[in-house]
């Protein structure tokens, strides 16, 4: 469970979710268990980052939440309704990894088409299109056929489609694919605004640096299993204390530090693993008492990429 604050409304809830792709239907040589007994929940105004290597089950989890595929075991509910139900889909915005459109339709016609599918009135559709065109800066190509679109334009249009109904739950699969740096910043700002307005957002992305700027809630998936949740990842984050010494760093390290704590050492520098910032004064004090002549100290916290790499390496 990522977070389950009673004051906040639960938007998505997955219980013991298992998905097996049968060999006959999937055209594979054997059954593939894409997800195994996953339980999680997302509340309103929360952004959750789905991270994991290729084949971890991120897209499968998104597809299950969107009601596009059925779970083999367990259940998914969106706003209290089964994922595939019309009620669940009424508040859902979904952006796939590879958005596809009718090549002959312009961006405007595509948005009108999806607005009509949502059951919006003609006036609402026009108003939404105007708003989204401005928000996502699509003015220049709103009347151009989608077949002429670059990857970045497609991404913006797909995001606009996902936002047509002002969703309470947004599923985004690699939303920043193909976006230029300005587009990425705009996307980030937009998602923050949506989060502040109460939209629950689940993002699957390989751009961990981008995710880190949006959220501290992660689900790390590995081979269909949840390896670590957001809070745990934050708590497990290891800091690196770089201590510069005049000399004899190796000898002092052997004398004072356990091998598990010592990440790296040279004649003039020690790199020490730190679980908590409060440990730093004690470490420095013990080094000084042990005869170390310190020239510099720098604490470097692990970022999400380091955590991802560490968790991945631990499992390989």
């Amino acid at each position: 469970m990522i977070r389950n604050d009673n004051k906040q409304t639960m938007v998505v809830e997955c219980e013991q979710l298992t998905k097996v792709f049968r060999k006959l239907l999937a055209g594979r040589s054997k059954d593939v268990c894409a997800l195994q007994s996953i339980s999680l929940s997302v509340v309103e105004g929360q952004i959750v980052g789905l991270v994991g290597p290729n084949g971890a089950g991120k897209s499968t989890l998104l597809n299950l939440m969107a009601g596009l595929i059925f779970p083999t075991e367990g259940r998914v509910s969106v706003c209290g309704h089964p994922a595939r139900s019309i009620e669940a889909r009424s508040g859902l915005g979904y952006m796939p990894e590879h958005p596809a459109f009718l090549g002959r339709y312009s961006a405007w016609a595509t948005l009108r088409y999806h607005g009509a599918l949502l059951g919006l009135s003609r006036q609402t559709i026009s108003a939404q299109i105007d708003k989204l065109t401005e928000q996502l800066q699509m003015d220049e190509y709103i009347d151009r056929p989608c077949s002429d679109f670059s990857q970045g334009m497609k991404q913006r249009l797909a995001l606009a489609i996902a936002l047509m109904n002002d969703p309470s739950f947004l599923l985004l699969d690699e939303p920043s694919n193909g976006l230029d740096p300005i587009g990425i910043i705009q996307l980030r700002d937009l998602l923050k605004k949506l989060r502040d307005a109460g939209t629950a957002i689940v993002i699957s992305s390989h751009r961990l640096g981008e995710l880190e700027k949006l959220t501290s809630d992660y689900i790390f998936l590995y081979r269909g299993e949840v390896v670590s949740f957001g809070d745990k990842i934050a708590a497990d984050r290891v800091g690196r204390l770089h201590v510069g010494l005049v000399s004899n760093a190796n000898q002092i390290a052997k004398k004072l530090l356990s091998p598990a704590k010592l990440l790296n050492s040279s004649e003039t520098e020690l790199v020490i693993a730190v679980g908590d910032e409060d440990e730093v004064p004690d470490i420095v004090s013990s080094l000084v008492k042990g005869g170390a002549r310190i020239t510099s100290i720098q604490l470097q916290k692990e970022d999400i990429e380091d955590v991802f790499l560490r968790l991945y390496n631990e499992r390989n």
């Binding site: 596009l68 889909r89 952006m95 796939p96 590879h98 002959r104 599918l117 059951g119 003609r122 489609i161």
Partner: protein, 253 residues
């Protein structure tokens, strides 16, 4: 609004839809004026070409393209019953065909009026029956499109038709009085798309069994039309069922 967009999409989704319509008009015009066959046979050409080949061409990939491109994944997350997607697309095809056959009739009448070529007796009845046949084949082809890729849609249906035609004729040739032959023949006549039924109806063959005298017996004609519409609904039912039950994996990791 939703119905309108879904029906309109069947026409505007690909440029080749327009090319198909224009090509078919050209083909009708050629057969109508060149007298390649006996004049009376033209109507049967119209019936087969417009009632069988046209729906296969127009409905190929109507869902298959969406599924293989992943477009269906966004459509399927919208809050409406997925059966609507099928029904409105089929209605879109049916409406397209109605306009297609209306234009065909007008074109042929104009050609006949100007050149005096062609045979226009019973033309409206043949056009109406072609439209009915179109609907049944469009329903079958659209249903198959939910599970089969565009490339296999046409080939699959053609193979099934040829297989049935071969089976029916070979059994009928060898054992015309055999029970199995009669069962297969009845199956072909009443469960498969109603080629024979509609042809006989429009040729006036049912009039002799009818309570109402005349070439186009009202009671039999209504029965044939109703039967055809029931078959269309029957074939559509499977498409709706398949669409609402199937899974759409957008990107497989």
């Amino acid at each position: 609004m939703r119905a309108y967009e879904l029906m309109k999409e069947t026409l505007s989704r690909k440029i080749y839809i327009y090319i198909v319509h224009l090509s078919w008009f050209a083909i009708y015009g050629l057969f109508f004026t060149l007298r390649v066959h006996e004049e009376e046979k033209f109507h049967q050409i119209l019936f087969i070409w417009g009632g069988f080949f046209l729906p296969l061409a127009l409905s190929a990939g109507i869902f298959g393209d969406d599924i293989s491109s992943g477009r269906i994944c966004v459509v399927a997350t919208k809050p409406f019953w997925l059966g609507e997607l099928y029904i409105y697309r089929l209605l879109g095809l049916s409406l397209q065909a109605a306009v297609h056959f209306f234009i065909t009739g007008c074109l042929l009448l104009i050609i006949h009026g100007i050149t005096g070529l062609g045979y226009i007796d019973d033309l409206n009845s043949w056009l109406f029956c072609s439209w009915l046949l179109f609907n049944t084949w469009a329903a079958i082809s659209t249903s198959i499109s939910v599970v089969v890729k565009r490339a296999y849609n046409f080939v699959f249906l053609l193979a099934v038709v040829l297989f049935f035609a071969f089976l029916n004729s070979s059994l009928g040739w060898n054992n015309p009085d055999d029970t199995m032959t009669k069962v297969i023949s009845a199956f072909g006549k009443y469960v498969c798309p109603p080629f024979t039924l509609l042809t006989r109806m429009v040729e006036g063959e049912y009039s002799k069994y009818s309570l109402i005298v005349g070439k186009y017996s009202s009671i039999k004609a209504v029965a044939c039309v109703t039967h055809t519409l029931i078959l269309t609904v029957f074939y559509s039912f499977f498409g709706v069922l398949l669409l609402s039950r199937r899974q759409f994996a957008c990107s497989r990791e």
